[in-house]
């Protein structure tokens, strides 16, 4: 187990390194001339050049990378082109907002998805199964912006029961914040539900068909005990890891949802930075997202080790 952990940690470090390279490449290298981007097409070349030098664009790539990454590690994520001030505080605040939204979506969709998947698996082929599977499938295929718009129209504008902006305003109570976050969370829930339910269903079906389930049933155990003690334990293991990887899709969805609902989260931040070609902000945002995601997958791996005896204890004598 220790070697497994070490491997994962090593992989994580490597991943973060590659992430930083990708972000750096995309942010600093590809877009070309940031001085021009900031000053616009009509500015004088000399001014552009001066700005470039000031921004350190003309130094060799390695130096730029090292200073960038060095700064990032210390919390200095550069200076926003748009706001002309440090990026880090923006990211910090946005991150907290996004986490609130993502957490709400997760807390709803994970139990819902698992329950749906397990129920579908316990009734394979019957109408309940088809309904759950098709529903999951359909919901997952609708892009968040579509469902978001529909929700806004129906609940926000039509029925006027829920607020259409996700931000509750400064100093709002938890309850009020929660109300504001409901609508934006729903498109995320829709998209994730299908994936999670599908995985839970597949895992449960496999467990139901396994030899050890047959043993349990033939021991004379009541069906509910068989499911609770024997089936679920094994079916949910793969589902747990998949949930962690869903964070990736969730993050993608955040960009859309936050933009649509005007919510100052990290997704919205990135989007606006992209529109405004504010590369330091964009890079920093993506870097932070990447780190969060990598940590989430590591957490899932740790959870998996804790729950799967085969990974915890090594193989048998065979």
């Amino acid at each position: 187990m220790a070697t497994f952990l070490l491997k994962r940690l090593g992989l994580m470090v490597l991943t973060l390194f590659i992430l930083s390279l990708i972000v750096f490449l995309a942010g600093q290298v590809l877009p070309g001339d940031p001085g021009r981007a900031i000053l616009g097409p009509f500015a004088a070349q000399s001014a552009v050049h001066a700005l470039d030098t000031q921004l350190g664009v003309n130094k060799p790539l390695i130096t730029r990378y090292l200073s960038w990454i060095g700064g990032a590690v210390h919390g200095n994520l550069g200076e926003s082109y748009t706001y002309q001030s440090a990026v880090a505080p923006f990211i910090g605040a946005a991150l907290i907002n996004s986490v609130k939204l993502a957490l709400l979506a997760f807390v709803v969709v994970v139990p819902l998805g698992i329950t749906g998947g397990v129920i579908a698996a316990l009734n394979v082929g019957r109408p309940v199964d088809r309904i759950i599977s098709v529903t999951g499938l359909s919901l997952a295929t609708v892009p968040e912006f579509v469902s978001g718009i529909v929700l806004i129209v129906v609940f926000g504008i039509g029925l006027k029961v829920l607020p259409v902006t996700a931000a509750a305003g400064p100093g709002a109570s938890v309850g009020s914040q929660f109300r504001h976050l409901i609508l934006p969370a729903i498109p995320l829930v829709f998209v994730l539900f299908g994936y999670i339910a599908r995985m839970a269903r597949a895992g449960t079906i496999e467990a139901l068909n396994a030899d050890y389930t047959r043993t349990a049933i033939l021991k004379g155990l009541p069906r509910f005990t068989v499911i609770r003690r024997h089936v679920l334990r094994n079916s949910l293991l793969p589902t747990i890891t998949v949930i962690a990887t869903q964070t990736g899709y969730l993050i993608g969805g955040l960009v859309v949802v936050e933009t649509l609902f005007n919510y100052q989260g990290v997704g919205d931040l990135i989007f606006k930075a992209a529109q405004g070609k504010d590369f330091p902000m964009l890079e920093a945002g993506i870097l932070v997202i990447g780190v969060v995601y990598v940590l989430a997958t590591l957490g899932a791996d740790l959870l998996l080790i804790a729950l799967n005896p085969r990974l915890r204890i090594g193989g048998g004598n065979d």
Partner: protein, 697 residues
């Protein structure tokens, strides 16, 4: 004497209440909208404390019987006719609660793959305690009972094993745990479905002994389902032979196997090589034709299409059960003539070039073909799969390679072929020229010379290629043929393995196991090899198909003059086919010698134990040695002689623990690795012999 109850062949015990009584049972599956009758008119009974064997090949429906008894048929299956009575109770009409009670207290099942029968996420102790809790014990008591149960199944240190997870247990230990779970509440009926098929011979012997002991201790009736007639002969009082869903013969096990009275049983028994049979002298008999497809709705006797005794009567009206004696029945009009069933395959061998005949001397014309010196293979730094193996394979002989798991026999084969690279210092030569350890670097001439037939044809044949492609490829790659010459040779090969033109355009998934293996054999022979490694070539096949494949291999050896390295765990087959045999244990050669000499004795204590562990239709061996414990791990082999930890003949001087014995020639051609000289072993082993009993007890 064909009363309606004749089909039951009532047990010899006169107990009023039977543990199990099945009457005229039909089981039907619904497949794609059609009904398929998988079991037809099956009737048998098991008395109190009696052991009943259900014997059949694949497709006979034997496992379906087990599932029907506990009402665990898949959703599309049902018992469409007949009655079942377990301890007087009828599982078919029970409600869910009563059924659960039945499964919890009255009937228990043990299956083939013990590792998979246990929940990988729960500790072993918990899984056993569960059964006791169901019986009403508190969790503390249940835990204690579980530990006691483990002790009863001869697991030493049960306290520690309780805390383990299934994946930490070996196959033998896992099966004991499953047996412990099954017998925990002293069921009236214990159903065993191929319980030892996946286990090594010595481990199997232990588990079977355990079952026999526990059976009498718990006074449980046993339904033992297996395709292995020898195991059934050893373990069961009475036996029923199942063919294509019908019980065609029933009676006391010893009588049925010694004097079968149904053409199928007769044919089946003839497929199995018996003591004294040798490939040089006679071919095995086979059963012609194929199993009928389930639900094909035949009129008449179900075995008639394949029966040499069949007449019109057989094809028009299905025979009833005839009483062969008070306690035996047979479903054949000609049960009296059955023992004289004409052979399907002639006993004599095809014209050979220089075969020496029945005296067991090999037709090898001398000269080593492949020589192995100091062969070692270590995996991952510490697992010594092979250790200092020296072997010489003579041209034209069949060298049998025998060993259990961990012996290294598969590794040896793969090293010879160049699929695995041995450790430095190992030498493998062909015609005295050293071979490159990597097959990819070997010249075509070497690749032509050494080929292999794998155990599992599903894995060995690319399922996306047609038969034509599978055989043509080696013809072009190894034999360098093309065009018309390739086609001609292809035709020749097909004929020699008894395949037909129409098979050429099929893919492996459309062929039966026997046919697939013939394709694999054709492929191996395509390049005109000098030596073919046969790695358990018939283990995945039914007994009746096995005989045909073995005959084919023997014929090809004669006509193509090839050398075989024959690897098998089935000692009967090895004895039949091999000229010399090598016994491996934990990567070391324990014994080498002419086949009959080694089999007859005296031999290495491990060989002795191995031979006495394997059940045989020829009865118990003169010296019965039982090994205890598990095969040691190759990562941490015992000191001195690696066998000393389990050796029943270990010397008290301590030399066996300290020094590894050398492989020495005890008599001409017979080498043995033991501190006890061969002459002494001769005295010990042959003097201990119990008068040989014909048939099983």
């Amino acid at each position: 004497m064909s009363s309606p109850d004749a089909s039951l062949a009532l047990p010899t015990s006169s107990d009023a209440e039977l543990a199990l009584a099945v009457q005229h049972m039909d089981v039907t599956y619904r497949v794609r909208g059609q009904d398929r009758v998988v079991l037809r008119d099956v009737s048998f009974s098991i008395g109190r404390g009696e052991s009943y064997g259900l014997v059949g090949e694949s497709g006979s429906g034997k496992s379906t019987v087990a599932l029907a008894l506990v009402r665990y048929l898949p959703r599309n299956g049902r018992v469409s006719k007949g009655t079942i009575s377990i301890n007087g109770l009828d599982p078919l009409s029970m409600g869910k609660g009563a059924l659960r009670d039945l499964r919890a207290h009255t009937v228990s099942m043990v299956y083939q793959e013990p590792g998979r029968a246990l929940n990988p996420s729960l500790r072993v102790g918990r899984q056993i305690a569960e059964v006791f809790e169901l019986a009403g014990q508190s969790s503390g008591d249940a835990s204690e009972s579980a530990e006691n149960m483990l002790r009863k199944v001869q697991i030493s240190d049960p306290g520690r094993v309780m805390q383990r997870y299934p994946h930490e247990l070996s196959g033998g230990m896992a099966q004991r745990v499953v047996i412990a779970m099954a017998l925990a509440v002293s069921p009236s009926l214990l159903i065993l479905d191929e319980p030892t098929t996946a286990l090594d011979a010595t481990v199997e012997a232990e588990v079977l002994d355990l079952v026999a002991t526990l059976r009498s201790e718990f006074a449980t009736s046993v339904l033992f389902i297996s395709h292995n007639l020898a195991v059934i002969a050893k373990m069961c009082d009475r036996v029923g032979v199942l063919y294509a869903g019908e019980l065609i013969e029933q009676g006391p096990a010893g009588a049925v196997f010694a004097d079968p009275r149904h053409p199928y049983t007769v044919g089946l028994l003839r497929c199995i090589p018996r003591r004294g049979q040798r490939k040089d002298a006679d071919r095995l008999d086979t059963i012609p034709g194929f199993l009928p497809t389930p639900g094909s709705g035949l009129t008449g006797c179900i075995f008639a299409p394949r029966c040499a005794l069949a007449q019109d009567r057989c094809r028009t009206a299905a025979p009833p059960f005839f009483a062969v004696s008070d306690v035996r029945t047979s479903r054949c009009y000609f049960h009296e003539q059955a023992p004289d069933l004409p052979r399907a395959t002639p006993a004599s061998i095809p014209s050979a070039s220089g075969a020496d005949g029945a005296d067991g001397v090999s037709s090898a014309d001398g000269g080593p073909l492949v020589v192995v010196e100091g062969l070692s293979k270590t995996f991952g730094g510490n697992i010594r799969a092979l250790s200092g193996v020296d072997l010489s394979i003579q041209r034209g002989e069949t060298l049998g390679l025998v060993g259990e798991s961990g012996s290294g026999k598969t590794t040896l084969a793969r090293v010879l072929l160049g699929l695995i690279a041995p450790d430095q210092g190992s030498v493998v030569t062909l015609h005295d020229a050293p071979l490159n350890p990597d097959a990819r670097r070997r010249p075509r001439s070497v690749l032509r010379a050494l080929q292999i037939v794998f155990q599992n044809p599903d894995s060995a044949l690319n399922r996306r290629h047609t038969v034509r492609a599978l055989i043509s490829r080696p013809l072009s790659r190894l034999a360098g043929l093309s065009g018309a010459r390739l086609r001609d040779r292809l035709e020749q090969l097909i004929t020699s393995v008894r395949l037909e033109d129409r098979h050429l355009s099929l893919r492996p998934s459309q062929l039966s196991g026997g046919l697939k293996q013939r394709v694999a054999i054709a492929r191996a022979f395509a390049g005109g090899p000098e030596m073919v490694v046969c790695d358990e070539p018939t283990s995945a096949l039914d007994v009746s198909v096995q005989a045909a494949i073995l005959n084919l291999l023997a014929d090809l050896q004669t006509t193509e003059q090839v050398t075989y390295l024959f690897i098998s765990h089935d000692l009967g087959l090895v004895r039949y086919l091999s000229d010399r045999i090598v016994v491996l244990y934990l990567g070391r050669v324990m014994e080498v010698g002419p086949s009959e000499t080694v089999f007859a004795g005296p031999h290495h204590p491990y060989t002795e134990a191995l031979f006495s562990a394997v059940p045989s239709l020829d009865g118990e061996r003169p010296s019965r040695i039982r090994l205890t414990g598990e095969i040691p791990s190759a990562a941490d082999p015992p000191s001195g002689c690696v066998f000393h930890t389990r050796c029943p003949r270990r010397l008290t001087t301590g030399i066996c623990e300290s020094t590894e014995p050398l492989l020495l020639e005890g008599e001409p051609g017979h080498l043995i690795r033991c501190h006890i000289p061969l002459s002494e072993l001769r005295t010990i082993q042959l003097n201990e012999s119990v008068p040989h009993q014909g048939g099983s007890s």
